[in-house]
């Protein structure tokens, strides 16, 4: 245990993460590996989520634009409602409910309105739920990773102190490697947590905006359908 510590002390100027990882205690190693996986997962979510959220936002904007410009909603529904855009899902839910409600001979207008509103809001909520499924992972990593890293650091520093006691020498060469590898755990924790927190805030804001947009679209569509209900047949 002494020898690698001494060799590290000689070329401590170059901090190799691999060397720090290999010298660490088994507990600190576990913490580091876990945090590294958390970091990879965080970035996987960030990239995937960013791509899907951006795609959904752009797709919704284009979809709604096209929707309001079309003349025949039924034909538009046949061609475009099969896409998995949130707006398309909301529209599909509204149209499906509309068709089901107006298929009967007598139409309960109030009941139809209620059902339309419920169907579309539930469709929009389902889409938001589906999209924001991974956000809680970001929130968890962002809040927990620093503590996990801190745990690794505390453990590593405790170990460094025991090595001081064992060698009965408090010189920097004995203390420094242990503390450096211990602090590396906190560094990885922050490395994982900071992007996770930033991405969580950014994406929850994006999700909120998308939800508001979906709700506006649903309301507008509901208004259109409601107007249609009142039209004499």
């Amino acid at each position: 245990m002494t020898m690698p510590a001494l060799t590290l002390a000689t070329d401590a100027a170059t901090i190799s993460p691999l060397a720090l990882f290999l010298q660490a205690d088994i507990v600190v190693k576990g913490v580091m590996a876990g945090l590294l996986l958390a970091s990879i997962w965080t970035w996987a979510i960030i990239i995937g989520f960013g791509v899907s959220l951006g795609r959904a936002r752009k797709g919704c904007a284009k979809f709604e634009n096209d929707f309001w410009q079309t003349e025949d909603i039924d034909r538009f529904y046949e061609t475009r409602a099969k896409s998995d855009l949130p707006s398309a899902k909301v529209m599909a839910a509204g149209v499906a409910e509309w068709r089901r409600s107006t298929a009967a001979k007598t139409i309960d207008r109030d009941g139809t309105r209620d059902r339309l509103a419920t169907a579309m809001s539930s469709a929009s909520a389902a889409e938001i739920d589906r999209l924001s499924d991974r956000l809680n992972i970001l929130a968890t990593i962002g809040s927990v990773a620093p503590f996990v890293g801190l745990f690794g650091t505390v453990w590593g520093i405790m170990r460094a102190f025991t090595s001081i006691a064992a060698e009965q020498n408090s010189s920097l060469a004995v203390v420094a490697p242990g503390i450096a590898e211990a602090l590396f755990a906190t560094a990885i924790g922050l490395f994982a947590a900071i992007p996770a927190v930033i991405a969580y805030n950014r994406f929850s804001h994006g999700i909120n905006r998308l939800e508001a947009r979906l709700n506006r679209f649903a309301d507008a569509f509901y208004a259109t359908l409601s107007r249609e209900l009142e039209a004499p047949r």
């Binding site: 590294l36 970091s39 970035w43 996987a44 979510i45 995937g48 899907s52």
Partner: protein, 302 residues
């Protein structure tokens, strides 16, 4: 898992591997300029230090100490022959001369006395005159001389001379002369030796004194206690023992937070000197460590 998430996972993994590899190869390593400026220095920690004066003049003065012992040994064979003849023939004329010569003759007897083979040389050498001197020696009283009137009388005259001389005579008659002549000589060689306590000798002495003090010095701990520095004046005798109590000269580095530690610091410093005494230091450099001013601080205990 959706396609976008798979893409994200792949990109994230690749990015982490890339970052890890860059850090491992020292991409962001801070170059250490100090490393280049200070080449490594070999330091060996040793307990024993050879404290040898390099002054050349010291080696040119061997004769004075060798005078006294030589006379004692070389005188032995001569008197063993002369002693029996001379006390009989020549007691009266010169008083000082006979005195020294029998004196060495008594020496073998004295030396031989404790040993078992002592009787052998005694009868062989000094059957005529020897019985008397041992009696005088052992008892050394004038009353005994009177009890044995006839034979000791001539010897008594010489015996009285012997009575006060045996002690000095063991070293030979030249001893006093040697001392008298040595006195000025001895003073002369010491002077160059003293002046030859150069910076190197001084440094070696300091290191040696510090080495001997170190096990006894324990710096007090506390807030700012490491800034305290107590200077103690110590007078030493030639044997390395303390000549008088060590005195605290001053304590520097006093701040508001370590003011309470000052007294303890001084006491511990004096205690360290007392415990470390007697110091084992080279006597030929005595002028270099006769009076010392030792400063105690945190560094000394490390």
């Amino acid at each position: 898992m959706e396609r976008t998430e798979k893409i994200g996972l792949g990109v994230a993994t690749a990015g982490h591997v890339l970052l890890f590899g860059l850090l491992s190869t020292g991409f962001l390593a801070t170059p250490n300029p100090l490393k280049l400026n200070s080449p490594p220095m070999d330091v060996s920690l040793v307990d024993e230090i050879d404290l040898k004066s390099t002054a050349p003049q010291i080696s040119t003065t061997p004769p004075p100490p060798s005078v006294a012992p030589e006379t004692g040994e070389t005188a032995e064979p001569a008197p063993s022959i002369a002693a029996p003849s001379e006390p009989v023939v020549a007691p009266p004329p010169p008083a000082p001369r006979p005195a020294p010569k029998p004196a060495p003759a008594t020496k073998p007897v004295e030396r031989a006395a404790p040993k078992p083979p002592a009787p052998k040389p005694a009868p062989a050498k000094a059957k005529p005159a020897k019985p008397a001197p041992p009696v005088e020696k052992t008892k050394a009283a004038p009353a005994k001389e009177k009890a044995k009137p006839a034979p000791p009388k001539p010897a008594a005259a010489t015996g009285k001379g012997k009575a006060d001389k045996p002690r000095g005579s063991q070293l030979g008659p030249d001893f006093l002369k040697g001392i008298n002549t040595e006195a000025p000589r001895a003073a002369a060689p010491v002077a160059p030796a003293a002046s030859s306590v150069g910076p190197r000798q001084k440094a070696a002495l300091d290191a040696e004194i510090r080495r001997q003090l170190k096990p006894h010095w324990k710096a007090p701990t506390g807030a700012d206690a490491e800034q305290l520095r107590t200077v103690v004046a110590v007078e030493l005798t030639q044997s390395g023992a303390l000549a008088g109590a060590p005195e605290v000269v001053e304590t520097t580095g006093t701040t508001a937070s370590n003011r309470a530690q000052v007294k303890l610091h001084q006491e511990l410093a004096v205690k360290a000197v007392r415990l470390a005494a007697p110091f084992k230091l080279p006597p030929d450099l005595y002028d270099g460590w006769k009076s010392l001013r030792i400063s105690f601080d945190k560094r000394l205990s490390q």
